[in-house]
């Protein structure tokens, strides 16, 4: 028997490029489906690695975050520099750096490339969207450009997968090549200061020494502060300014001058810029009136689709889940194991999968809007509005989407580059009133605020509930940006890319990735929380399972309707008792003094606790505690007032009396309002917390969101009940 060949350690190649250059498209085209996504430790930056072969040699491709420059201002921006310099713990240093640039916008794209040339790694330039450049009349002499820059240059069309074989070949050759020798010529005084700084500090890559001088208050300075040992960077900068090298301007001046010289004679542009499609479209799409109208229509279509088009699919998933649950329950003998499987695991899996339609629909829209270039226009139109909350236009779509569901909303915050803006958006997204709150609102409004009230009351209350999130989310974001997420506001610069047809491949890939990411990275956490709450609500079980089973037997064997009804009541009675003596039930009883000031009794308290996995669970739990069996929240959400009037849970809620004073109803108007307000503001949604954990890379932020939202919800509910009691007595 021969030994299998020892696994060859793949060469590492890193992809670097500006946003909107098709970097991710190239990454996907090179790696196919063979990739892994993770997080770099301690930062919110995603690490994407793919695998491919170039000329038969195995390669690992690292997709670095899209950026306009390598002058890190934060730990997040430092990741790319650390990876390329081989200083990122656990990552091997790339042997080749592929810089992907937009051929129709070479000057600005080459700024980043000019920095990449100084990192001591062989560089390959991928000239993407060469077709767009040609259609604009831009002619590029690839060979000459390669000579001028001193690196291999390959023209490609990543979205049509053209030029990739050539690129692979060049990458494979570059492994053994020497680092680039031609770099921008910084003035002599600057080079002298960099050399002096390096000899003082020892063991410091030249690039970082440059950054120390150039980035005033930048992250390189912050990180290397302990090593500076009294070297005053201000003195260096002062000396340079005196010699005509003003910091930081010297860098951009030197690089852009170098780029312009390199491009002279390589790139021919038409003397008269022709009116492009982008010009014509932008006249309409960023127009004061028409642009706003188109924007509103687009947003309405997106929002409406998440709400309505997802509905039939969600219903299908729910009924599928019930069918599987019923089938399993029929197959196995009744007992704790069967209930765990049906009510814990199968319901839990259903609760995860049910989010997929909304996620897939939202991401189809986002992928299309982003790929065609409209996303930047949306951010442009909304920026003024969002800037009042300390955010930027890029936060608008995530927050709007959160009104359907915070899970896809939070996932879509990845378009926000600034870490603080992104965290603030993630943290307030669950305050927007999502569709899972609807069953709670409808149940309580239908039960207490519709019959015998002026016709406008239900609508007004519903409007008030939605407004609560719309008002509080910006306020909380504003407060967060001034406290916990305080820091220098980065300059808002937003590139408005050229419009193009969205590529089916790019859109499909994006949608698939988002769905998979959710199932794979958040699914297990959601499932675990469902099972945990199920256990807490069902144990200790005592002899209740047998007694319930016996009572159910009696229901089936009942000879007439009266007997059947009596037997059913027995089942509901037993189930309610069972929950009351469960762990969660006991905790609820102990916690009653805490929820009393909100106008709640222990049953509402237990139902609120049990709704930790998902808000709508509160409806089902109330059903059990009020001895009406399990109530389906979807049914409540779809019911009209007439159906609600006959709903057993609605009737039971109206009838409910305090344990110690059986003449006083539990649900007064203030109690109903306080419960609604609590659910409008709390974070009882394991999926949201799981996705937050995935997107921020730590448990700290979801924990913070849960705590602040629960406190906010409690205080608001307290206020509503106490003030409401003064009016409604």
């Amino acid at each position: 028997m021969s030994l299998p060949p020892a696994p060859v350690k793949p060469h590492v190649v890193a992809l670097l490029g500006n946003p909107n250059t098709g970097k991710t498209t190239l990454f996907n085209a090179l790696s196919g489906l063979n990739h892994r996504v993770g997080n770099y430790p301690g930062v919110t930056v995603e690490s994407r690695k793919g695998y491919t072969t170039c000329d038969g040699i195995p390669f690992e491709i690292v997709d670095l975050p899209g950026t306009y420059s390598l002058s890190p201002r934060s730990p997040d921006e430092m990741v790319a520099v650390d990876v390329i310099l081989g200083q990122q713990p656990g990552e091997s240093r790339p042997e080749v750096l592929v810089c992907i640039v937009d051929a129709s916008n070479l000057e600005r794209n080459l700024y980043l490339t000019s920095q990449a040339l100084e990192l001591g790694v062989p560089v390959v330039l991928a000239l993407n969207m060469i077709d767009v450049a040609q259609s604009q009349g831009v002619r590029i002499d690839v060979e000459k450009l390669s000579q001028r820059l001193g690196i291999p240059v390959v023209a490609i069309q990543a979205n049509k997968r053209k030029g990739l074989d050539e690129l692979r070949r060049v990458i494979a050759q570059a492994v053994t090549a020497a680092p680039p020798s031609r770099t921008p010529n910084f003035p002599e005084p600057f080079r002298r200061e960099v050399a002096a700084l390096r000899s003082h500090l020892g063991e410091l890559p030249e690039f970082l020494a440059q950054r120390l001088i150039l980035d005033i208050g930048g992250y390189t300075e912050q990180r290397l502060k302990p090593r500076l040992n009294g070297i005053a960077l201000q003195d260096i900068r002062g000396r340079l300014a005196a010699e005509g090298c003003a910091i930081p301007a010297i860098e951009a001046r030197t690089r852009y001058l170098w780029i312009r010289e390199a491009l002279t004679g390589c790139v021919e542009r038409p003397t008269e810029r022709p009116l492009s499609w982008t010009d014509r479209l932008d006249k309409l799409l960023t127009h004061r009136v028409y642009g706003s109208l188109v924007f509103m229509v687009v947003m309405f279509v997106v929002f409406q689709s998440i709400f309505t088009a997802a509905r039939p699919l969600m219903d299908l998933i729910n009924s599928g889940k019930d069918a599987v649950g019923g089938w399993v329950a029929g197959l196995l003998p009744p007992g704790p194991f069967t209930s765990l499987l049906v009510e814990g695991v199968i319901d839990g899996v259903g609760a995860v999968v049910v989010f997929l339609p909304q996620i897939l629909i939202l991401f189809t829209f986002i992928a299309i809007l982003e790929d065609c270039g409209y996303m930047a226009r949306a951010a442009f139109l909304m920026d003024r509005l969002m800037s009042r909350a300390g955010l930027s236009g890029k936060s608008f779509i995530p927050l709007l989407s959160s009104m359907a569901c915070a899970v896809p909303g939070i996932m879509s915050t990845r378009v926000i580059e600034d870490r603080r803006d992104r965290l603030a958006t993630i943290l307030v997204a669950p305050l927007m009133s999502c569709s899972a709150r609807l069953p709670v609102y409808i149940l309580l409004i239908g039960a207490f605020l519709t019959t015998n009230r002026p016709f406008w009351v239900p609508g007004l209350v519903m409007f008030a509930m939605y407004s609560l999130g719309l008002i509080l989310a910006p306020l909380v974001a504003w407060a967060l940006k001034r406290t916990l997420l305080r820091g220098e506001t980065p300059v808002f610069v937003l590139e408005m890319p050229t419009y193009k047809w969205p590529s089916l491949r790019v859109v499909a890939r994006r949608v698939f990735d988002s769905g998979w990411m959710f199932l794979y990275r958040a699914g297990s956490i959601i499932l675990a929380s469902m099972v945990l709450v199920w256990v807490l609500l069902n144990f200790p079980a005592g002899d209740y399972p047998q007694r319930v089973a016996a009572a159910q037997q009696a229901v089936e064997e009942a000879e007439d309707d009266t007997a059947k009804e009596a037997a059913e009541e027995e089942v509901f009675q037993l189930e309610a008792e069972w929950k009351r003596q469960s762990i969660l039930g006991r905790v609820g009883l102990i916690l009653e003094p805490v929820v009393r000031p909100l106008g709640w009794d222990w049953k509402i308290g237990v139902a609120a606790l049990a709704s930790f996995p998902a808000r709508e669970v509160v409806v089902g739990t109330l059903g059990i505690l009020y001895k009406k069996g399990k109530v389906d929240p979807g049914e409540i959400a779809d019911a009209d007032q007439e159906q609600l009037e006959k709903n057993p849970l609605v009737l039971a809620l109206r009838d409910a009396k305090w344990d110690e004073d059986p003449t006083r109803p539990v649900y007064s108007i203030p109690t109903a309002l306080s419960l609604m307000v609590f659910f409008a503001l709390c974070c009882q949604c394991a999926s949201t917390l799981a996705v937050m954990r995935r997107e921020t890379g730590s448990w700290g932020w979801p924990l913070f969101a849960f705590v602040y939202m629960t406190l906010l919800a409690y205080l608001a509910a307290l206020l509503v009940y106490q003030v409401g009691s003064l009016f409604f007595g």
Partner: protein, 78 residues
């Protein structure tokens, strides 16, 4: 003649950048995006709510806020 800034241009007007003023980190970022002395910029349009601005420079379009544009001194080109 008083100095005008990018912020003062009307849609369709072009200007040549004379100087960038303001916080150095802001200036650094704007320069990285290609806003340098002697470059020509055109104000394309203004967002419906009055902010931000959309400009054209170096073969591409960029959006930036008025407060940052106010630090960019320009000479109005005919």
């Amino acid at each position: 003649m008083s100095v005008i800034t990018l912020n003062d241009l009307l849609p369709g007007q072009c200007g040549r950048i004379l100087a960038l003023r303001g916080e150095l980190r802001t200036v650094q970022r704007l320069m990285e995006m290609g806003l340098l002395e002697d470059e020509t910029v055109e104000l394309i349009t203004v967002a419906p709510l009055g902010d931000p601005l959309e400009i054209r420079l170096r073969d591409y379009r960029l959006s930036l806020r008025r407060e940052d544009a106010a630090g960019i001194e320009v000479q109005l080109l005919p």
